[in-house]
């Protein structure tokens, strides 16, 4: 098997919460990410989907070492980056960059585009052979910005263009892995498509590996080779995009796919639509056993007592459920 570009082994991140007594010791923990493992091969894209509060953004931040994991290991090209610090961490980050969700909040309004895109170079103390300005302008061209706008400020750009600036900044160090946390969810539909196309072109040209986090299932379907579905801090299903979308094994995945509005009025009022009741439970005190059981229509006593582990359903499609869906669910849920 090929060496994976990015791997996570049993990553756990708990945030302490609640305080009591004089010393203010935390009384509780938010189990944001609770034992997540995955691996992404070179040049491939792993899409991570889930609803708000499922831990997908925390996972992105742990993987990029923006926050430290409570336990678990993150490997790049087979080498652990979990225990790096200082200079060695900084050097490892050259290969691992991030694109953020909100192009309005992630760019410093007082810095020019040139300063923003070149800042990773100055942080890393790298001077590109062709000079900083030439390198930055090269990148601006690559992401579809006019290089003449080098001295402009973020407020002079539209949302889509700002996201391109964020992408150029992530690419300036020539990383191999990009972690994108909801890179298009703040953009208009027509602009989303432009950015997704740009990310695909860049991946083909530069051989990038993506971890792509989104709540929009159709966006992930479009861009990902493999998909991981998260629920309350755990991956409940993972496999190739084709197999997860056409034959979801976990009831949660089926429900999620079923809930996505389909842009086809002739399929309105389909039978077999799955409607989940209620909301995601609190990650401070997740349900015992299977975390999805409180909203699952298939749950039994077994689900409350024993936690299902990710098990291979064949061809590497992993599902964590005692009673996986048997009939392949057609897309958008759909009986013809």
């Amino acid at each position: 098997m090929k060496q994976a570009a990015l791997e996570a082994h049993n990553v756990i991140k708990y945030f302490p919460t609640g305080h009591s007594g004089i010393l203010g010791r935390p009384t509780n923990e938010v189990k944001a990410v609770d034992g997540v493992s995955f691996s992404i091969a070179h040049g491939e894209t792993l899409g991570v989907v889930g609803e708000s509060g499922c831990g997908k953004s925390t996972l992105a931040r742990v993987v990029t070492r923006l926050i430290d994991a409570t336990s678990g290991e993150i490997l790049m090209d087979g080498e652990s980056i979990s225990h790096l610090s200082g200079k060695s961490l900084r050097i490892a980050r050259r290969k691992l960059q991030m694109i953020f969700q909100d192009p309005y909040a992630s760019l410093n309004p007082r810095h020019s585009v040139g300063q923003i895109i070149s800042s990773p170079l100055s942080v890393q103390g790298i001077s590109p052979p062709q000079g900083v300005k030439a390198r930055v302008q090269e990148l601006m061209e690559l992401v579809g910005l006019n290089p003449e706008h080098y001295n402009r400020y973020p407020h002079e750009f539209s949302g889509g263009q700002r996201q391109r600036i964020g992408i150029a900044r992530a690419l300036v160090l020539e990383p191999t892995v990009l972690v994108a946390d909801e890179p298009v969810s703040a953009l208009d539909v027509s602009i989303q498509a432009q950015i997704l196309n740009l990310l695909e072109t860049l991946q083909a040209e530069l051989g990038l590996t993506y971890m792509f986090i989104a709540h929009d299932l159709s966006v992930v379907r479009h861009i990902a080779d493999n998909v991981a579905v998260m629920y309350l801090g755990k991956i409940v299903e993972m496999g190739s995009a084709q197999s997860v979308y056409t034959q979801p094994g976990h009831p949660y995945t089926s429900a999620l796919l079923s809930a996505v509005p389909v842009a086809d009025p002739t399929r309105r009022g389909r039978d077999g639509r799955i409607r989940l009741e209620g909301d995601v439970p609190s990650p401070i005190d997740p349900p015992s056993g299977c975390r999805f059981r409180t909203r699952c229509w298939k749950a039994t006593d077994l689900c409350a007592s024993t936690e299902p582990l990710l098990a291979d359903q064949g061809n590497g499609h992993l599902v964590a459920c005692h009673f996986p869906m048997e009939t392949p669910v057609t897309l958008g849920n759909t009986q013809p």
């Binding site: 539909v189 498509a193 966006v219 379907r221 056409t246 809930a259 842009a263």
Partner: protein, 341 residues
Amino acid sequence: MSNSPLLSVSNLCVSFNTPDGVVQAVNDVSFDLFPGQTLGIVGESGSGKSVTASSLLRLNNSVTSTTTGSVQLEGRDVLTVDEPTMRSIRGQDIAMVFQDPLSALNPYYTVGDQIAEAYIIHHSSATKDDVRARVLEMLKKVGIPNPEKRIDEYPHQFSGGMRQRIVIAIALINSPRILIADEPTTALDVTVQAQILDLMLDLQRETGMAIILITHDLGVVAEVADSTLVMYGGRIVERATVSEIFATPTHPYSWGLLGAVGSLDTSTRGHLTTIPGTPPSLISLPTGCSFHPRCAYAKDTGSRCTTEVPELHKVSGTSSSSACHMSDAQLVSLGARGDTL
């Protein structure tokens, strides 16, 4: 659906004075809304869809904005009635649900008080017990479990989906005939979005109210709307029934919008069709058709696209209307081919 419209908007224009110049947010918008109908207004940010909605309730600042045209609600023009009449229209005839349920609720008051307030304004003689009974009934209707307990809780004690149910309860407690929902599910997760859309449709079936649903999500329109307005640069560029807008869209912008929507079905990876460029600034709209700088077909019609604003006209062979200079036959054949930009 009866034949006389409940609400009839004609030639609505809204402009705002800003330090940078006059923003022409809504330009010559006309449409009819019938009882029991669900009208979807689709467009990107800055297309004028939310301003159109807030004008129907006269919520725009009267000092900085200018509104012309007419909004007929059963013989009354909403834009010219006096303020006391307007107050009785708001909430009782036309109610509104906003996008973000957290900022729509006051954190200092219990949800019960906030729902009751909307009722008391229009029923000043109601006794305390009546009001509480009515609020409880609404909470049950919008699917809040354990309403007797939750009526006295505060907004922060509710999840996003539950808060949006509270906002819907506030909007519907006076049984309005028109509900305007401005991106009601954009802030919510998909599974919760599905619950809220179902709830709105159930309540519509029960009360027969008309719904104006503003959204940027064509999937939501396909799921719940009967007819659709597509807005661009403050104007309606296409008006069609929901089945037609997806089967034979008749405006190049609609083609682009439909092409840009990734589908759960597309198993092939590959490039999405996109609309090049960005939506225009409403301060300096392009001359002629405001979509022409982004339109692949603009050159085909010569200079007309850059000089002359296309009228919204009925496209022969369909029941849709389109604001494009291309010939009807061209629009129909390109639309039916599923052509995109």
